[in-house]
C-alpha cells in the first residue's frame, strides 16, 4: 500500500516534470480581484496547463464547474491547473472569493 503510494508519487513527479515541457501552457494573472486575460483561447481536445499568478495579497479560489477545477491560490503566490481535453465551446470560470469582479472564460476551438 505504502510502496504503491510512493511509486505513484514518483510517477507523478516524472509525469509532472514531463508536462512542464509541453507547449499548451497559459498564464492567468489575478490583480485587484480581476483576471488578466479574462479570455483564454485554447485548442480543443487537448490537455492544457494554466498557471494562475495571484498578485493580490488576498487568497483566491479559481473555480469552474465547467472546467472541473477548484483551486485555491494564496495571496502573492501561484498555482497550476490542468484542464481538458475540452470539446469546442465556452467555459466560464470565476474567482469564488470575489465573484463580482473575478470572471473569465476559456474558449476551446
Amino acid at each position: 500500500m505504502r510502496a504503491g503510494l510512493v511509486a505513484i508519487g514518483i510517477a507523478a513527479l516524472l509525469a509532472a516534470g514531463a508536462a512542464v515541457a509541453r507547449a499548451n501552457d497559459y498564464v492567468l494573472t489575478i490583480k485587484d480581484h480581476r483576471f488578466t486575460p479574462a479570455e483564454i483561447k485554447v485548442p480543443a481536445n487537448q490537455r492544457v496547463m494554466i498557471t494562475i499568478v495571484n498578485d493580490d495579497v488576498t487568497p483566491e479560489e479559481f473555480d469552474s464547474s465547467a472546467l472541473k477545477v477548484e483551486k485555491v491560490v494564496a495571496g502573492k503566490s501561484k498555482g497550476v491547473v490542468r484542464i481538458g481535453p475540452l470539446n469546442p465551446g465556452r467555459y466560464t470560470f470565476i474567482g469564488e472569493y470575489h465573484e463580482a469582479t473575478a470572471k473569465g472564460v476559456v474558449i476551446a476551438e
Partner: protein, 276 residues
C-alpha cells in the same frame, strides 16, 4: 454580507452533510461524542494550519500540491467509510437489537469510531481550510470587512444548523432501518468522494486516462447551485463526469457492497473478539 454568507454556507454544508450522516450512523454507540469532538477539534485547528500553509501546499509538486492533498484526504476518507460499513454490516444488527432492548446507548465499537472521527476530521479540514482562507482574505482586504465577517460567521452558523437538521432528520428513521439507510448513504458518499479524488488527480496531471467528459447536465443541475452542491456531497453528483470518474464511482460502490457482504456472512460473526 449576504454574498459572504452564501459562500461560507456552501463550503460548510458539504462537510455538514458528511458529519450529519456519519453521526446518525453511529447513533447509540458509547464514546461517540468524545471521538467526534476529537475529530472536529483536530480538524478546526488543522483547517487553520492548512489555510496558513496554503501557499506552500499549493506550490508543492509543480503547483499540484493542493490537488494531491485533497485527493489523499478523500482516499483516506473512502477507506475509513468502507471500514465502517463493513464493521456495521457485521455488528449493526446486534447494536440495533441491544438499542431496542435497553433503549439507550450500547458499548461496542471504539474502532469504527476512530475511523469515522478521521472522516469527520478530513471533511472539516478540506472545506474548513477554504472557509478560513476566505475569511482571512476579507480581513486582509480591510475595507468593509466587518459586514463580510458577520456574513461569514452567519454562514458557519447556518451550516451547523443544516448539519443538525441532517442528523435529526436521519434520527427520525426508525432504528430498525437506520443502519441500512445510513449504510446506503455512506456507500454513495464514499463513491462520490472517490470520483472527486480521481478528478483531483486528473487536475494534478497524474491520472489522465479516460478523461473525456461523458455528459453535460449543467442545464439541469449546476454544480455551483446549493442543490447541486448538496447532491455533490451526498451522491457525488457532478454536471460533467469524465469516463474515469464513472468507472471509479461504480467500482467503489461495487467494492463497498462486496465488502459488506463478505463481512455479513463471516462465520466468526458471533465471536465477541471480532469487535476488536
Amino acid at each position: 454580507m449576504l454574498g459572504a454568507l452564501i459562500i461560507v454556507f456552501r463550503e460548510v454544508i458539504e462537510a455538514g452533510l458528511i458529519v450529519g450522516i456519519v453521526m446518525a450512523a453511529t447513533r447509540g454507540v458509547v464514546g461517540r461524542g468524545r471521538w467526534f469532538s476529537i475529530g472536529r477539534g483536530c480538524s478546526v485547528l488543522g483547517a487553520g494550519v492548512v489555510a496558513m500553509c496554503a501557499g506552500v501546499i499549493s506550490d508543492a509538486f509543480q503547483g499540484a500540491g493542493q490537488e494531491l492533498f485533497n485527493a489523499r484526504a478523500l482516499v483516506v476518507a473512502v477507506i475509513m467509510l468502507m471500514w465502517h460499513n463493513a464493521w456495521m454490516a457485521r455488528h449493526g444488527r446486534e447494536i440495533a437489537d441491544e438499542m431496542r432492548r435497553v433503549g439507550a446507548a450500547v458499548s461496542e465499537g471504539a474502532r469504527p469510531l476512530t475511523a469515522l472521527a478521521v472522516v469527520v476530521a478530513l471533511a472539516v479540514l478540506r472545506e474548513g481550510s477554504e472557509v478560513v482562507l476566505f475569511l482571512y482574505g476579507i480581513m486582509a482586504s480591510g475595507t468593509s470587512g466587518s459586514a463580510l465577517m458577520v456574513g461569514g460567521v452567519l454562514g458557519i452558523i447556518a451550516g451547523a444548523a443544516f448539519t443538525a437538521l441532517t442528523y435529526f432528520g436521519l434520527l427520525a428513521i426508525p432504528s430498525r432501518y437506520i443502519f441500512s439507510v445510513t449504510s446506503w448513504l455512506i456507500a454513495l458518499l464514499a463513491a462520490g468522494m472517490a470520483a472527486q479524488a480521481v478528478q483531483f488527480l486528473n487536475n494534478a496531471g497524474m491520472v489522465v486516462a479516460l478523461d473525456r467528459t461523458v455528459w453535460d447536465t449543467s442545464w439541469l443541475l449546476s454544480d455551483g447551485s446549493i442543490f447541486g452542491r448538496l447532491m455533490h456531497a451526498l451522491v457525488g453528483y457532478t454536471e460533467r463526469p469524465t469516463e474515469m470518474q464513472l468507472v471509479v464511482y461504480i467500482t467503489t460502490l461495487f467494492a463497498m457492497f462486496l465488502l459488506m457482504r463478505i463481512a455479513r456472512y463471516s462465520p466468526r460473526q458471533r465471536l465477541p473478539a471480532a469487535a476488536e
